[in-house]
Amino acid sequence: MSIKKEKCVQKTDEQLVKLTLKNQDWFFCIVRRYEGKLLGYIRRISGVGQQEAEDVLQDVFLKIYQNLNDFDPDLKFSSWIYRITHNQVISNYRKIKARPQSIFVDNENIFDGIASGLDLNREVNLRELRKVIRRALTRIDKKYREVLILKFLEEKDYQEISDILKRPSGTVAAQIKRGKEKLKKELLTQNLL
């Protein structure tokens, strides 16, 4: 049996999980719903290219499928699969300790959130500003980069970030605040502003 795309739209994530546990063909809907978002996320946090990111994404979906019974409905499904994705990326790149050379984005506008969050001088050319933020993000500590990417580029709220990174929400809030300060400092010290 193959599932029609239209049928996917009508179902919530939780319903799709239950349906997939009965019939694996429904997993198609989950993959379809999240493949774009997760691919972008993998590229943003790892800095790898499209092909490599797709390989990681495939492993992520296989892991999600195998661990479906571990999904806790108290969490948002998206938080849960972002967590699996995050962990997979970490375990893939732990050995080489890679740091992204540039932050991948599919839409430059998403940097505007960071720019307004940093309370930067808006007189700066917006296009230039997006470019420098993108560069500065690669230079700050991983723990701050992770929360800033989730907050501003993935547009997750504090609780979701806490659930994805498995950190207390108070810690997440503090890291976002500190991360913004670090980013601003990085922009200033590198004369990126």
Binding site: T20, Q58, N67
Partner: protein, 245 residues
């Protein structure tokens, strides 16, 4: 994104004949982590009961006799080994709780404070049930290095020239005069007729006692107070302590 990436994922699942892991596996793992946390907390409670036992059965009123200040006395009687053990257990509780499904939502300080409070409450309960003393005695008898680890507490009583003596009664001569082998294996003749002692304390061979008093002659000690020697000690430790100061 490759065309039909999603179909590719499904194909891989079928090719590898993957199946979702059964729910019981995850439940089992989660329950095992919780069981580990509860067990560590119970043992932490027992450790706290022993610490409580050691503190409450200390002769706080006697610290002046030791010739040291209160702080120095305190540092001498602190049961470091048990405190270290308690700290390890609390760290274990933290590790376990942090690995439960929602454990990451709690901060380090919250978990540590809650685990410590729980071990204090459990420890108080276990102490009232007499477990603190029993565990201490059991460790003293069964664990070869236990007495050595806690000997600094007992050594406090290995100071006859300052009026502190401890050991095992080896012979009773009558009229509250007895022979005592001290922690350095020196035999003392103790005159205990005028000594204060708990009403239920019976001077018999084999009894471990600590004695306050003064040296009145060649290996002769006049006791002003005799108390049972609670805690680590006993015949085994007589073999490793140095001669008295």
């Amino acid at each position: 994104m490759k065309k039909n990436f999603n179909q590719g994922v499904l194909r891989k699942i079928k090719e590898r004949a993957l199946r979702p892991r059964p729910r019981w596996e995850f439940l089992f793992k989660n329950y095992a982590i919780w069981a580990g946390a509860v067990l560590a907390l119970l043992v932490a409670g027992l450790a706290f009961a022993v610490i409580l036992h050691m503190f409450l059965n200390n002769d706080w009123d006697l610290y002046r006799q030791t010739g040291s200040g209160f702080l120095a006395f305190l540092f001498l009687i602190i049961p470091y080994v048990w405190l270290l053990f308690l700290a390890i257990l609390i760290a274990l509780v933290y590790y376990d709780l942090r690995h439960t499904k929602k454990g990451y939502r709690l901060t380090l300080s919250t978990i540590i404070a809650a685990a410590f409070l729980a071990s204090v409450i459990l420890g108080g309960l276990f102490y009232n049930l007499g477990l603190g003393g029993q565990i201490d005695d059991l460790c003293s008898e069964r664990i070869p290095f236990y007495n050595a680890l806690l000997q600094h507490r007992i050594l406090l009583w290995h100071n006859p020239l300052n009026g502190l003596l401890a050991g095992v009664i080896i012979k009773v001569e009558g009229g509250d005069i007895f022979l005592l082998k001290d922690l350095g294996q020196t035999t003392w003749r103790v005159l205990g007729a005028d000594a204060q002692k708990p009403t239920r304390l019976e001077i018999v061979p084999g009894l471990r006692v600590k004695i306050l008093g003064e040296v009145i002659g060649q290996q002769e000690f006049k006791a002003t107070a005799i108390r049972p020697l609670v805690g680590p000690g006993g015949p085994t430790m007589l073999h490793f302590l140095p001669p008295h100061r």
